[in-house]
Symmetry: C2
Subunit: 386 residues, 2 copies
Amino acid sequence: MSSNSLPANYKIGFLGAGQLARMSSLQAFRFGIQVAVFSDRDENEPVQFMTPFSFSGSFDSVDDMAAFAKQCDVVTLENEFISSEILKEVQEQSGTPIYPSPDSFALIENKLIEKQTFEKAGIPVTPYQLIEDAKDLEAFGKKHGWPYVLKSSKGGYDGYGNETVRDLEKAKKAYQSLGGNTGRDIIAEAFVDFTNELAVQVARNETGTVVYPCCETVQKDHICVAVLSPAPVNSRYQIRAQELALSAAEAIDGKGIFAFEFFLTENGDVILNESAPRPHNSGHYTIEGCITSQFENHVRAVMGLSLGSSRLNKPAVAMINLLGTHKRPAEVTHIKKALAAENGHLHIYGKMESKVGRKMAHFTLLGEDLEATYNKAKTLSRNIEI
Amino acid sequence: MSSNSLPANYKIGFLGAGQLARMSSLQAFRFGIQVAVFSDRDENEPVQFMTPFSFSGSFDSVDDMAAFAKQCDVVTLENEFISSEILKEVQEQSGTPIYPSPDSFALIENKLIEKQTFEKAGIPVTPYQLIEDAKDLEAFGKKHGWPYVLKSSKGGYDGYGNETVRDLEKAKKAYQSLGGNTGRDIIAEAFVDFTNELAVQVARNETGTVVYPCCETVQKDHICVAVLSPAPVNSRYQIRAQELALSAAEAIDGKGIFAFEFFLTENGDVILNESAPRPHNSGHYTIEGCITSQFENHVRAVMGLSLGSSRLNKPAVAMINLLGTHKRPAEVTHIKKALAAENGHLHIYGKMESKVGRKMAHFTLLGEDLEATYNKAKTLSRNIEI
């Protein structure tokens, strides 16, 4: 595969069959590429309605995944649930390259190593500590103050695997519920008093690097409910976040698309919070919002093709996550206003079952003014039920 | 299915498994909709790599297609190869609605009926006549002058099924090669001295009608090589073509997406040339060029959803059809420039085999000035080989 050509019959494999594989596939198809997915779940995933090449097996089984990888020209990740050691063996056994590489992934695969990697690269991270026992819980609170955050070092997402603890009693409980006493690594992170949560995507491969605009993720109960781009903060902070995101992608020698989430503090510090070696919810707005979406650049990056421009198509973009409102067979209702809005774009994920709070769809609105666009997007999508 | 909601598990069926089904599917997937395709061919079609719901059978068999339609919530057309009578039976036998409806399709399914339908609606069409025997060939030439065009009344596309004839000898030969003496209806059309060939897409259903910008199709040897939007002609002609396209869509009570092709003559007449009850090559530029692509509005229209805006995203759009340059297993080479161009968008169709002149891919470039954008698009895609 050269950076200058695209053969027919090229197949990209996704380890994981969730929404990110689904949305990436849509971009792969635009290049005439075939898509194969590997699922570790029993139920049908929407992406499996989009390809005849559907495999299942365990994320712990090198044999399962190597058999899958042999069917593909390149394999990429859709989540952080497979260990870098196993990925390395899958790559060796199948002969199929995996990007982001197992070596890159090893540098961020758990929260402790991730912090160390980025700290070493000079990127500010929140103060943290590996918790070995209950004494550490108390000491960390004394040193950095209460409340602070306990995180499972692996597998957390969307607020799962995270708990904010206000005192030692709560901390001990959370340590248990997060699995600390069953051998899972738990880290404590100092609570950062932030004014905004920011995110930046970076696409990177041997042909070059593309950094996306700095956006704001609006969170409610640890769930991202909206993304605004460009982030409504002073442009010096936007640029700072972009710089740090570029350094972070370089620090892990990343090939693929990466998302970096930051806290902007009251005194103007930009601190790296989390990273993801894959397309990310904070970048869904790029589908219509930017010239080249995070999904298209993900596909380009892992295939070694030149990357596309990340420029915004309009001065303001608002993306609203549409969460399940009922426990029922999925049906997205009251969509007329959202569908009819000029430059409103409704994406539905094709999940069969809805439940309250489940990410089921999103709505992106492009406009001229960020506040007006965000308000309009909320109004247009307010009555949607799922 | 209401115009205000979208259930999970909704399935759209395409009669035909070509590129138009493939590109429409990409938009259906954005709504979480499932796609089924019905192919009448033996070889693998690229869209069959994008769905596990792939059926085959004959376009003459009501049973084959009704069994397919029963698996779908709505069925739509991808070509004009199935007779309206058969479509009506498929609809009755399966109970699944087909849009555009068999009744609409009956009004345009062959070139003779099509001309009569649009003439009756007051839309200017080229002078024409059904050719019953060789005497008609001579009489038509006498009345309208040589050369003129002979067309098979059904199934022609991309210049196939059309011949320009310069004298009676040539006309007799063409009449035979087009199948006139084996019972196929052949019509003669007066040659129109045009300055430009224009096209307009119309999306239409019970919720409303959306007309796309008037674009120019640039033809070479009866093959469309490029599309420019908006068409570089006086805006009064653009508007005239849009008016006629709206009347034409209304004349057949169309539900779906329709493309209408026009001649602009030297003295400023806009004359309807051909119509297509489906997405059309002249509308591929709308994927990035317009807020809502012809494919998305196709899917919306046949599902009864509100239609999206057809407004241009940039003042100028050029689309270059990338035709096969070699007979070989398909590989699209020298794509670096096209991929790296800001606001250039490369689409590859995933066909396994290339041959000279076969439509294999297209390249769309958005810009500020039409001539500059067209020239740049040609330069960027010039070296691509397939």
